[in-house]
Chain length 134, copies 6
């Protein structure tokens, strides 16, 4: 049984490698490399796969899952600049792929290992990303 | 090849165990345990996985799948109180997880075993559930 | 300048007039008159029309508008049975039209008269209702 | 890591087998067999599954994926009649299932084999189709 | 009080003036002039504005409005070719604007004049049209 | 007759008055005042109200409207920092209200005065803004 909680997150970012010259950053990352950043409303789906608890009829109380997502993800990253404000992205290019992996790793530590975990992120309504661990 | 038909269903329910005292029901289920019920617009996706029929180009005629869903699910559960009106939920807490499993079991009996079956339900735009059998 | 805050509300209801015989209730209201209720996810848009405050660039701080909507609407009606739990609907058939008018009246008293007010409600993704006062 | 690009395509089609008499076409395909065609806004999701490039943080630059989809799918099929204008559908009934398989085959040839490929198509908001190869 | 019923319609069309040479049709209408047609999923909102009936709490029973829309619009235009199959479009270029006006005129005759009428049509998720009469 | 073209824009911004101390900025604008910015996917609807051209059946060719929106709005503001990169926001707090007014003013100059103009912006799926001029 899979269950999912969906939340939204608003953040600024810039795709940029400091070890590349400006022209190469622009060649590879285009307008996503704008030096003063741009931003997105990220929609984040957190999917858990596990058995139904026969006592409650829940796989997990989604209020508890929501609290974990708020505390571990939204409180740290919402209304932030991923490049400048978030130590989790130090040395990491904040592509949606890397954001998805980092959020998955953070949640994986906080969610009972009896659940398989998948994180799916919409960067825009046309660009979607999904990670389930190796 | 996977194909899906999406439908909507409006129902009342209450999360509640009669063998628990009222306080424990409220502690575990919170406002979802309101004695006079609350309700949802459930969105139900029925996914079949099977081969394309070379004669018609269909995996299944979705009109036929829609008729099965209307007859087996909507005619029985739409505009009903899942706790009081539906014998399928006798002795079952109508969490979205259990709703998903019960709908899956009902549809599994009516759908040709050559198709793998997945049922996905949105209880709200932020809470999603999916079951594919054991 | 118009600004809007959108929220969701889950409730049970039944369309029913106690002064009509059961058959007439069923004839007029159909399955919406099911005695044990059914329910919906209502989506509620609260629109204010007023000038931009030159000091803040806001028509109204939407956090403040959200707090009013939560306190006056969601805390009273979310996860409730509109017929049985809510004195505001005593003697009122809880059609989406009447829900929209009652929510408009409640919000009208709490929102500064300098703003024109419109309430728009989705009962399902296909049924929409809107009231702006007389 | 899975990544997806979503695009839209508007086309006319008709479900019809020339080797069947008109009545059988209508019996099997119903109003979808209307001789003068009808049409849809198809929404197409192209999902790639592959590793993140450590140099760029991308699985694939979605601008490049978008260019492939525009050149191989939209330039050939958008604002076309699938039955009359598109040689890819000669001898093929343009059901959504067959459309999904044909788009998958076209994209499979153009996308690096290191990526697993899934194509998901919405024919309407209620009818969804998905193909990942055999 | 405004109330709305939303429905979907799938049709083929072509933008084309027979009194213009082919090149001018292509210059003005571009790919929308493809000789073999293309098509859309049109989403149609029918809005009525009128008083709430104190006896029922309805502005209009939306089931009745839905029946009018099905009988007058969907039964005539759904899964049709607007240029070839529909006498209402003889001598009319089936732009979304003209579709909106024609549907408004058809519905205006069938809907009680005590209601103001607005028809809003989505041709794609990005192109929207609305007509309320002169 | 009203017609609308919908587009998306991704930008970074910060709500901040340089003439206020930091604490007052945080008190009034909260997390929206984060010094290193945050961002949004803005959805922009541009509505024109005018007569149908009897020659083409168009109010306006939406391709032309789209080109105006791309040239005047997206080319200037997409993937930018509204506070730092855009002279149009010098001395202006980039609230969604002010963004809506500024986009309206820019488009008003480029769109034929025979059309009434309304700009509607979604900052998130729950916060919506609309301006039609004084």
């Amino acid at each position: 049984m899979k269950v999912c909680r969906r939340v939204s997150l608003n953040a600024a970012h810039r795709l940029y490698r400091p070890d590349w010259p400006e022209e190469k950053n622009i060649e590879v990352f285009g307008k996503c490399s704008n030096p003063n950043f741009h931003g997105h409303n990220y929609t984040i789906e957190t999917w858990l796969d596990g058995p139904i608890d026969p006592e409650t009829g829940y796989v997990i109380d989604l209020k508890i899952l929501k609290e974990i997502i708020y505390r571990e993800i939204l409180d740290r990253f919402d209304h932030r600049n991923l490049n400048l404000d978030c130590k989790e992205f130090e040395g990491v290019i904040p592509t949606a792929e890397n954001i998805t992996v980092i959020f998955w790793c953070i949640l994986r530590e906080k969610i009972d290992p009896k659940y398989a975990l998948t994180v799916r992120i919409w960067e825009t309504e046309n660009n979607i990303f999904e990670y389930s661990g190796v």
